[in-house]
Amino acid sequence: MNATQYAILAYAVSFILIGGFAMWSWLEHSRLTRSGRGRGGF
């Protein structure tokens, strides 16, 4: 692997982590709010 490929790998890994976390948060959040049991956010 050359330097460019390593750079692509690094960004891919980072974006997967961020995207995964954001997606999970979003799903969890909408699941919790839709279930209607949630009271008061902050």
């Binding site: 460019t4 390593y6 690094a10 980072s14 982590l17 909408s30 839709r34 049991r37 956010g41």
Partner: protein, 233 residues
């Protein structure tokens, strides 16, 4: 009213952050010049450094929340601290992985016991432990207390970890001479990364609050009911 505002502000914030992230990625790929000796892998730095700085910020938030929890004993602080710790671990993972990938390209090895790699590994471990111990403590009050004390002690540990890793032999690049375009790109990357960290902390915090509310025996609560936060419509 509150829920309506959240319903609009949340997605708008998310979309803006996403667009900015896409913009700086494009800027980094097509506009920023390639570093001569290291090649393209040097560009890892543009996500690496903002992620590292935001990790510290998130750890600091954990620390503040821990202190506030110990002073006030409000579950609110525990939830915010937990959210910040999650984001700290996410960002620390990015720092660690990008660092390792860069090291593999520059030194030909995934891992070297250099001060900075060792430091980010220990930092990552410190906050992974914060997350890992939580499910194994049943009493929510006990959990919040243990995590708060841990959050304080762990943050105090950070400078000592840094100083102790200084005792290891260093082959890390100390100063990098950057072209003006590079410096601008780095600065630009700070904006979406910081927004991302803040947004994720806030979202996680909301999830924690909702989960706590859902797990409470609602019928036994005396306190006046608050308006449901999320859209029930």
């Amino acid at each position: 009213m509150k829920s309506a505002r959240v319903r609009i502000v949340g997605p708008v914030y998310g979309i803006v952050t996403f667009c900015l992230l896409a913009a700086v990625t494009g800027m980094m790929v097509w506009w920023t010049p390639r570093e001569e000796t290291m090649g393209d892998v040097q560009k890892v730095f543009y996500i690496h450094l903002p992620a590292a700085i935001n990790t510290f910020v998130a750890c600091f938030v954990v620390f503040i929340c821990s202190v506030m929890y110990l002073l006030q004993r409000r579950s609110w602080w525990d939830d915010l601290g937990f959210a910040a710790a999650k984001v700290a671990v996410l960002l620390a993972s990015i720092v660690l992985l990008t660092g390792m990938i860069w090291g593999r390209s520059a030194w030909g090895a995934w891992w070297q016991w250099t001060p900075r790699l060792t430091f980010s590994l220990i930092l990552w471990l410190l906050y992974v432990v914060y997350l890992m111990i939580r499910p194994s403590i049943e009493s929510s009050q006990r959990r919040a207390l243990i995590c708060a004390v841990y959050g304080v002690i762990a943050f105090m540990d950070v400078p000592l970890v840094w100083l102790s890793t200084k005792l290891l032999p260093d082959i890390h690049p100390k100063t990098i001479s950057m072209a003006p375009e590079m410096r601008l790109t780095l600065l630009a990357w700070f904006v979406p990364m910081t927004m991302l960290a803040a947004g994720l902390i806030v979202t996680s915090m909301r999830i924690n609050r909702l989960q706590r509310a859902a797990s409470e025996p609602a019928e036994e609560l005396d306190e006046p009911r608050l308006v449901p936060a999320g859209g029930q419509a």
